[in-house]
């Protein structure tokens, strides 16, 4: 697969060379999956399209799909910088070190890395507080399950994913004390066949709610085939599976951020920032809760969403203990962003271990 990507990026580079004439500002996007994944990368590409729409001919955008996390990413990003990109969005956690490395070599190019935590003078980091969406998900899931078993398809054991599991668990447990989470680590962001297998394994073991932190719609299809299992859209609305099995979704909306940051580069006002927006700022959206969810559950889920949005409630509010039983948050205390950003522990009650 490496060679595939090498040749794709070589072809891309040729493409870049021939089209890079007209526009003043050039914005590059590095994607981890295909733009047609219907999830994570799809939404980033919607953000790119919003940039095109906003600025028209003044901005030229380029993107490379299916870039593996690691050394390949560094080459692709370097290539983009060499081809004259002014601003480069690297849209997956695993691009963190490659982005920092390339940024050192190109001090004049601005970089934006999604979901990471390493910032530099010309590297901003941005992410969305997906865990707020997970809280709403857990709230619905905990009440919808009949087997008290929720299956969770996790991708990689990074803080982002662990935060999501914790948040969903806390809020499911709140409404249903008997809840149990079964977690599968797929070690991939995008592999429809594997995601489908994982979903089937969870369903066979009694899960009737599937939450996913992988990018394809395959688990939705598996749930639909099983018939009595509900799911939530991940990253994108995945509304083609609504109203059942998909009962709601977490939608990433990158468009306003991408437009604002492109504008900043054009105006020369770009500065390295650390952005972490949630439901309140519109970066995280909750997709329509379908009629498969009883009205009172829907109402309380929406109330929770509103409290998260206006800041009157934090998804990690004490009293909370860590999995090993040690105290984490006292009654009424909320988690600080530093702890959340580096979260590497489960909360009390989760019966699983985090892979190293």
């Amino acid at each position: 697969m490496k060679l595939t990507n090498l040749l794709t990026s070589a072809a891309m580079a040729l493409g870049l060379a021939t089209t890079a004439m007209a526009a003043d500002t050039k914005v590059g996007f590095v994607y981890v999956g295909p733009v047609g994944d219907g999830g994570w990368t799809y939404e980033h590409d919607q953000g790119r399209k919003a940039v095109v729409e906003e600025f028209g001919d003044a901005v030229e955008t380029v993107y490379v799909e299916n870039v593996p996390e690691g050394a390949d990413a560094e080459r692709v990003i370097t290539q983009m910088a060499l081809q004259g990109a002014d601003l480069i969005f690297t849209t997956s956690f695993g691009y963190m070190d490659p982005t920092i490395n390339v940024a050192k070599k190109f001090p004049k190019v601005k970089f934006e890395h999604a979901t990471g935590y390493k910032q530099a003078d010309n590297v901003s980091v941005y992410s969305a507080r997906f865990y707020e969406g997970r809280a709403v998900q857990g709230h619905i899931a905990g009440q919808m399950t009949k087997t008290n078993t929720i299956g969770y398809i996790a991708s990689f054991p990074i803080p982002e994913v662990i935060r999501g599991i914790n948040s969903a668990y806390i809020h499911a447990k709140e409404v249903n004390p008997d809840i149990q989470f079964k977690i599968i680590w797929a070690y991939t962001w995008f592999d429809p066949a594997k995601e489908a297998d994982a979903a089937k394994a969870l369903i066979e073991q009694g899960a009737d709610v599937i939450l996913q932190h992988t990018d394809s719609t395959a688990p939705q299809a598996a749930a639909q085939a099983a018939g009595n299992v509900i799911t939530f859209g991940q990253a994108s609305d995945m509304s083609e599976y609504a109203p059942y099995p998909r009962v709601s979704s977490i939608i990433d909306d990158w468009a306003p951020y991408y437009v604002a940051r492109t504008k900043a580069v054009m105006d020369g006002t770009w500065e390295s920032v650390n952005t972490w927006h949630g439901i309140g700022d519109g970066m995280v959206g909750i997709g329509e809760i379908s009629d498969a969810v009883p009205a009172e559950i829907k109402a309380s889920a929406l109330a929770l969403k509103d409290k998260l949005a206006d800041g009157s409630y934090h998804a990690f509010t004490g009293p909370l203990k860590k999995q090993d039983g040690s105290d984490w948050l006292a009654d009424g205390e909320t988690a600080d962003d530093g702890t959340l950003a580096g979260m590497n522990f489960y909360v009390e009650g989760l019966d699983a271990e985090i892979p190293n």
Binding site: L3, T188, K200, E204, Q205, A221
Partner: protein, 306 residues
């Protein structure tokens, strides 16, 4: 940890499903390699098969037509490879890699308007009475027809290679194309037919993923299974039953490790995640201790004048 949560009957039934695309692609490639041709384009043919099958079954509403279209799609793409390597005498490794790249790109293009569409469902072969037998019923008699085709194909290829005259010719071409040519066999024709068979099998395997196993279309959805099929043929020492064993082992351990994870068993997930690759290779390497080697003309270009 709760091992009782794993239902062995459902586990075996789903491992057979997980193994089928790999089995189909590998059995096709086995025939190609037995004829002395190394086609590294399996992944490309699979993905083109996946989208051809998906598109046709969505348009026609018939999954069966889709599967046939997938085979045709895979075979058509393989003809490109056949032309490059058998007539233009291009390097097989390079042509095969090019085929994969081309296939991935072409399928993305073809599939643009099919993202997010649900294909018509394939009926499982629920034979009354016997599919209701406990244990054996769900494992053996309640799958989709393609799964049985995969097993039948494996048996068919084995019998063809071992017992039939055609199989003997095919193996002769793969072992020594010069000798086969001297005996008056049309080496190029045999190889083209083998390549097309491999393409059709890979296409069917791809469509199995997009129509039955997942079922939906997303770009790059074969996610490397074609490459695993290639490796499987080598580790199985070019023997059909070992390919079947390897595919079931790989699919089985893949499904098993997901089940073990879900059951919360205390094996580190990293080991579980690499176990399918490791165990499949280990078992097949131990089995291939009998030194049965590759077809002698594998990957060599043939021209009658040489």
């Amino acid at each position: 940890m709760d091992l009782s949560a794993i239902n062995p009957v459902l586990l075996i039934a789903s491992l057979m499903v997980a193994a089928t695309p790999l089995l189909l692609a590998a059995i096709g490639e086995l025939v190609v390699e037995k004829a002395g041709v190394l086609n590294l384009g399996v992944e490309g043919m699979m993905i083109v098969g996946a989208i051809s099958g998906f598109a046709i079954s969505v348009e026609s509403g018939s999954p069966m037509l889709g599967l046939i279209a997938a085979m045709i799609g895979g075979a058509l793409l393989s003809l490109l490879f056949a032309f490059l390597t058998q007539f233009a005498l291009a390097n097989q490794v390079a042509s095969g890699l090019a085929l994969t790249l081309f296939g991935l790109g072409l399928s993305a293009l073809m599939g643009q308007s099919y993202v997010g569409i649900k294909p018509p469902a394939m009926a499982t072969l629920d034979i009354p009475v016997i599919s209701d037998i406990p244990v054996i019923g769900p494992i053996l008699f309640s799958h989709d027809p393609v799964l049985y085709i995969g097993i039948a194909l494996c048996a068919g290829v084995w019998a063809f290679l071992k017992f039939s005259r055609g199989g003997l010719v095919l193996r002769a071409v793969g072992e020594s194309h010069d000798a086969a040519h001297a005996l008056g066999y049309n080496v190029i024709r045999v190889r083209i037919l083998a390549i097309m068979f491999g393409g059709a099998c890979a296409g069917l395997g791809g469509a199995y993923i997009s129509l039955i196993r997942v079922p939906q279309w997303t770009e790059g959805m074969t996610a490397g299974i074609g490459w695993i099929a290639l490796a499987l043929v080598v580790f199985a020492s070019w023997k059909p039953w070992r390919v079947l064993l390897g595919a079931y082992l790989f699919g089985g351990i893949n499904v098993l490790q997901l089940n073990l994870q879900a059951a919360g068993i205390a094996i580190p997930v990293e080991y579980l995640a690499m176990s399918p690759y490791l165990i499949t290779i280990l078992v097949l390497v131990i089995m291939s201790a009998d030194k049965s080697g590759a077809p002698a003309s594998l990957g060599r270009t043939f021209h009658a004048s040489q």
